[in-house]
Structure formats: structure tokens, C-alpha cells
């Protein structure tokens, strides 16, 4: 993923008519396109939206979606919530951590591994989201196949 530049930030702010009450939407748009929010963007947003840096920083810090460090090219989220736990998501998470040799919240080898608390796919647990797409009934072999398909993209 590329890092957002100053010009694009201004364009996104303009798309939202520079309205400070749309800050969450502006940040979400940035994260969906670029994966994260750099410190310099926080400063720029504060200036363009006429908010304090503390205000913007507080909102960025508050929401799980708003990463402040660059994620890997692929984002893999494993649901940790109760319905998925009932179908073995704890074991699946351990399998993922072992296979990828990393822990939840880590980034390595182009992959960011994150927890997520419910993807709303609870009748097809365990659920995993890979690059914004939800997968259901994910056991260890299916998880491995999903990882293989990511490597195929490289």
C-alpha cells in the first residue's frame, strides 16, 4: 500500500466539504484506501478541518480501524468473538500465529495479522477477513489455502 500524500489528503477533505463533523468518515476513507494514518496527515487534517491536533489525534487513537503504522500488503483478521470461539477460533488463531510465525497485531512478510470482534458471519464460524473479504467455515486447511492464494498474488 502507498502512503497518503498531502494532495490526496486535501482531495479527500474536499470530497467531504471540509466538514469537521465528518472526521470519522474522512479517516475511514483514508484507511480504506491507504491502510493507515501517518502523523503528518493528522497534522494536516487538524489544519484543514480547523480542529486541534489533540482532537484529531484522540479520534484516531480511539477507533481500532485507524492504524497509525503502516500495515502489510495483506491484512488478515481472525474473529475472536464468542460464536467463533465456540467453533475453534482460539485454535485457529494459534494455528495462524504458528504458521505465520507472528502474533496478533504483528506485521511481517507483507502480512498484518489482527483480531476482530465479530464479522457478523456467526452461523458460518469460524470467520476470517482477508483484505476486506469475509470467509466462513475456516478450518486450518482452508486458512492455509487462503494464505497460499495471497502468495499467488505476489
Amino acid at each position: 500500500m502507498a502512503t497518503i500524500d498531502e494532495k490526496t489528503t486535501s482531495e479527500i477533505v474536499a470530497e467531504f466539504d471540509s466538514r469537521p463533523e465528518l472526521l470519522v468518515q474522512i479517516l475511514q476513507t483514508i484507511v480504506m484506501r491507504f491502510g493507515w494514518i501517518p502523523e503528518k496527515t493528522i497534522r494536516q487534517l487538524a489544519g484543514e478541518l480547523n480542529l486541534s491536533r489533540a482532537d484529531v489525534h484522540g479520534v484516531v487513537e480511539y477507533y481500532h480501524d485507524f492504524r497509525t503504522s503502516e500495515p502489510g500488503r495483506h491484512i488478515v483478521k481472525i474473529c475472536q468473538a464468542e460464536a467463533c470461539q465456540a467453533m475453534g477460533s482460539r485454535e485457529l488463531t494459534r494455528h495462524a500465529e504458528t504458521t505465520l510465525a507472528m502474533s496478533l497485531h504483528d506485521t511481517a512478510n507483507d502480512i498484518t495479522l489482527e483480531p476482530v470482534y465479530c464479522l457478523g458471519n456467526c452461523a458460518c464460524s469460524p470467520a476470517v477477513m482477508v483484505n476486506g473479504k469475509t470467509y466462513g467455515r475456516v478450518d486450518a486447511p482452508r486458512f492455509n489455502a487462503l494464505l497460499d492464494s495471497l502468495r499467488g498474488d505476489d
Binding site: V24, V59, Y62, Y63, V116, G136
Partner: protein, 517 residues
């Protein structure tokens, strides 16, 4: 020969298990064999355990094929799919699947049936009839119908919708809002998502009716970011409704203006709490507000606001069409009408079951759900999301009724039912409840912010067997504090799963040493 309609759901659960690949395979093979096929991406009927569920329209009867994989499609065509031919995946007519027909579909009746993105299809199936009726009969008549229906908020709190709407209608204000809570964060719940993916115009119509009834010209949908497919479907539906003149200025010559903005959440569970959601809609941190003032009087941007869950709103068009009394004739006691129960977790036949209140937990889990997916005995059931109590197998005969659930220390909430088999470790699940609260707490009040972290530590000590009696008392004391002194349900109800796990599954909290003795 006429074109044959084939339905393949574009709905998160179906797509998560291969519906897109099945649709592609159907298109490819239809092309290859020069079959005249119209592929329709419908919503889901809710039988998630059968997804991907493919249907073929044979002379007006839809023949269903369940758990179809892309690899099955070629052999299905060979088996004369277009005529509903026999095949290992064939289930027979959709209208004869017991899971689906034994329901009371009031709110979800169009889900699965129609093409969710076709406004023509929606209008062919009574779409916008209720809004037109509201325009003809006036706001007062809508308010009365909703009050008569006995509808209570389906988001979880169960507050009477009619009273909320009346309060906003009577409130003074130059601007009022309808804020639809689509931040469906509870584990085990997906009914909002299925409704929005399967019948998005139904929600749009419902919000317009709410706006008309209370005098609001602007609506917001606050949708969680974990639902990207829903977001795409809903944004397209809102745009189509605008193009067709069902949103915007002077809707269909009624003189009523109403439009909807779709906002995304950003991964915060607390933003499902109504005041935190309003803060987030204002672009701020999702920190819970003190109540009063009630959002009905001072809600979004300080203006009178109806905050309703997706399913509460979507239940209204039929209440307007068929009358509040029809709705209140279903259900039991003070739990009127239907609820979209969601069968999830370790269950053989997971999915959505819309049924009148009064059905028992056992009926839902056994008759619809078919028991656990693992085939092992049910150990515990968590109803109502992560803040709901763990119900032991002995209490499965409890009827689904708000007050009956309160009387056993549980709650119905948003209707999510998560089943665990006998391998579940209830001590770990109790610990998780506290851990989740620590992760998601908005931080405004101390019992929730600090109590949850202390809760994890104390449960760890109990599991290790450290000063067990003392720590047990401490945990109960902590639960009392969180329950009594938290600002919202996050801290106030996290003790429910913890206490119920302690009460009914004390043996799971035994340390390894104790287990040996």
C-alpha cells in the same frame, strides 16, 4: 423457451462460503451451453447452513439446491438444472424447506425472495406501499399504529418504539433526525446485516416513514465497517431510491423531504450504544453520554432524534400496512410480535429464524438448529451478545420473552443465540468477557475502564487457585460495582456472563490441582 431465472445470494454468509464462485461458474457454463439464463443475486433466506443456496425458477416454483460448490455446477447443468433436475444437492422447492416455512416472517419476508438492488422488484412486492399509505393517512395514524403494535427496540434494550417516536414527534425543534443503528457488534448476531443485504429498500422505506411520523427530514445509517458488502449494497440502494424519487425533496408530491446519509463506523463496539453512536456520527470519539438528556429530546447535534435499530425500523412498514393490532396479536405477554433469532456458534443448522415471541430456546436450538455442529451435548448458550448471560442446558425451556429472560438473570438483547458444546471452558469465556470489556471500554467511567482489567486479573488468579475464596469474593464485589456504577451496558452488563459462568459452571474455575483431588 423463456429465460430461466437462477438465484445465487449476494449476502455475506453465502459469499463467505463460495457464492460468488458458484455464480461465476453458473454464468460460465450457461454461456458455454448457450443456456438462456438470468442470474439474480438475491439476499439470503437465512438458512446459512445451506449456503450457498442456489434456486432455479421452474414455471414459477423455485427449486433449491443446497451447499453448492463451484465444482458442482457443471454436473448440475448435466442433471438438467434449468428444469429443476434431480441432483445430490437438490433440496426441492424452497417453499417446502421446513427450516424456512415454520417461521413467522413479518420483517424478513422479502429477504431471499427479491432482487435486493431492483427497485422494480421491491415495488412489485409491496415496496413503498406503507410510505404511500402514511402520506395518505397522516403522521398521527403512523404513530398510533406503531404504539398499538407494542413493538420494542430490537437493538437489545427493548424500549417501546411507539413511545420513543411520540416523544420525538412532540419535541420542539427546527431540525429532527432519524438515526438508524446498524452497528451490529454483538457476537452471534447478523439479522441487521441480512436485512440490509436482502431488503435494503425496506429499511429505506422504514426510515422515511419514521421521518414522516416524527417530522424529521434527515436520516443517518451508522453501519459498522466490518460489513463491507452491506455497505456496497446499501449505498447502491440509497442512490437508486434517490433516482426514483423515494428520497429527496417533496417525495412523490407529498411535500415531505427526506434523505439518508450512510456513515461507517470504525471498529468500536461501544459505538453500538446509542449515545456513543451519536458522538461518532458527529465525527468524535465514541464516548458514551450521560442520560438525561434523552436522545429523543437532545440527540444528534443536540436535536430531537429517533435512534432505532435496523430490525425495529424494518418491522414498521408491515405494521403500517397491516395494522398495529396484527403485529401485537403475535407474541406473548409484553413481548409482542416477532424477533429474528440468530442461531450461531456450535450449531448444526445455523441461520436466521424469525419467529413470534414465546418460542423456547430449546425449540430454536433443537428443532431449527438441530443441536450442536459437533454432535456433542449443549453445555451453555449465550443469548443477547457478549453482555448476555451464559444459560445452562437445564434452562433451555425458557420461552423467548423479554421478561422471562430477565427473571432468569439473562437477556434476549438483539436475539443472537450462541451455542457451546461440552468442551467449552466457561472460566476462559468469563475471562474473555472481562477482556473484551477492557479492549472496548470507551474509558469514560471508572468501573468499566478499570474494573474490566482488574476482572481479568482476578479471574486469572482464581483459575490458578491463588487465594481462591478471597478472590472469588473480590470478583463478585467487582461485578457489583461494575453493574451498579457503570454509565452504560458495556460495564454494567459485562458481569452477566461472568456471574452466570461462576454460578452454573463453578467446576470450570477449579485450578488444575483441585481437579486432581
Amino acid at each position: 423457451m423463456a429465460r430461466t431465472k437462477i438465484y445465487v445470494p449476494r449476502e455475506t454468509a453465502a459469499v463467505s462460503v463460495g457464492a460468488d464462485e458458484v455464480a461465476l461458474a453458473i454464468a460460465r457454463i450457461a454461456k458455454k451451453t448457450a443456456a438462456d439464463v438470468e442470474l439474480i443475486r438475491n439476499g439470503s433466506w437465512g438458512a446459512s447452513w445451506l449456503e450457498p443456496l442456489v434456486e432455479v425458477d421452474v414455471d414459477g416454483t423455485r427449486i433449491a439446491y443446497g451447499n453448492v460448490a463451484a465444482d458442482d455446477v457443471e454436473s448440475m447443468f448435466v442433471a438438467d438444472l434449468l428444469k429443476g433436475g434431480e441432483h445430490a444437492r437438490r433440496l426441492g422447492p424452497t417453499t417446502e424447506i421446513p427450516y424456512l416455512i415454520n417461521q413467522d416472517r413479518w420483517t424478513f419476508w422479502r429477504c431471499g425472495l427479491i432482487n435486493p438492488l431492483s427497485i422494480e422488484d421491491f415495488e412489485l412486492h409491496q415496496g413503498f406501499n406503507a410510505l404511500s399509505k402514511a402520506f395518505a393517512e397522516g403522521a398521527e395514524s403512523v404513530l398510533q399504529a406503531v404504539a398499538d403494535s407494542g413493538l420494542r427496540g430490537r437493538g437489545g434494550a427493548g424500549f417501546p418504539t411507539g413511545i420513543k417516536w411520540r416523544t420525538v414527534a412532540d419535541a420542539a425543534g427546527d431540525q429532527k433526525y432519524i438515526a438508524c443503528n446498524a452497528d451490529e457488534g454483538d457476537s452471534g448476531t447478523f439479522s441487521d446485516r441480512m436485512l440490509m443485504e436482502g431488503d435494503p429498500f425496506g429499511l429505506i422505506e422504514a426510515m422515511a416513514i419514521a421521518g414522516f411520523a416524527v417530522g424529521a427530514s434527515k436520516g443517518y445509517i451508522y453501519l459498522r465497517s466490518e460489513y463491507p458488502l452491506t455497505h456496497s449494497i446499501l449505498s447502491r440502494a440509497i442512490a437508486s431510491a434517490r433516482d426514483a424519487g423515494w428520497l429527496g425533496e417533496d417525495i412523490k408530491g407529498s411535500g415531505f423531504n427526506f434523505d439518508i446519509d450512510l456513515h461507517l463506523g470504525a471498529g468500536s463496539y461501544v459505538c453500538g450504544e446509542e449515545t456513543a453512536m451519536l458522538e461518532s456520527l458527529e465525527g468524535k470519539k465514541g464516548i458514551v453520554r450521560y442520560k438525561p438528556p434523552l436522545p429523543a429530546l437532545q440527540g444528534l447535534f443536540g436535536k430531537p432524534t429517533v435512534v432505532n435499530n435496523v430490525v425495529s425500523l424494518a418491522s414498521v412498514p408491515n405494521i403500517v400496512n397491516l395494522g398495529g393490532d396484527r403485529y401485537s396479536s403475535m407474541g406473548v405477554n409484553r413481548s409482542k410480535g416477532t424477533l429474528a433469532f440468530q442461531l450461531a456458534g456450535n450449531i448444526k443448522r445455523g441461520g436466521l429464524v424469525e419467529k413470534s415471541f414465546g418460542v423456547t430456546l430449546r425449540e430454536l436450538i433443537e428443532d431449527w438448529g438441530g443441536g450442536t455442529a459437533s454432535g456433542r451435548p449443549v453445555k451453555a448458550v449465550q443469548v443477547g451478545g457478549p453482555l448476555g448471560a451464559y444459560i445452562p442446558a437445564e434452562q433451555l425451556d425458557t420461552p423467548m420473552d423479554y421478561e422471562a429472560f430477565i427473571s432468569i438473570g439473562a437477556m434476549i438483547g438483539h436475539g443472537g443465540i450462541v451455542v457451546f458444546d461440552d468442551t467449552a471452558d466457561m472460566a476462559q469465556l468469563a475471562r474473555f468477557a472481562m477482556e473484551f470489556c477492557a479492549i472496548e471500554s470507551c474509558g469514560k467511567c471508572t468501573p468499566c475502564r478499570i474494573g474490566s482489567t482488574r476482572g481479568v486479573e482476578v479471574i486469572d488468579k482464581i483459575i490458578k487457585g491463588e487465594n481462591k475464596d478471597e478472590n472469588y469474593d473480590l470478583l463478585v464485589d467487582l461485578c457489583d460495582t461494575m453493574e451498579g456504577a457503570s454509565l452504560c451496558a458495556m460495564g454494567g452488563m459485562t458481569p452477566f456472563p461472568v456471574r452466570s459462568a461462576l454460578k452454573y459452571f463453578a467446576e470450570d474455575f477449579a485450578s488444575p490441582n483441585e481437579n486432581q483431588t
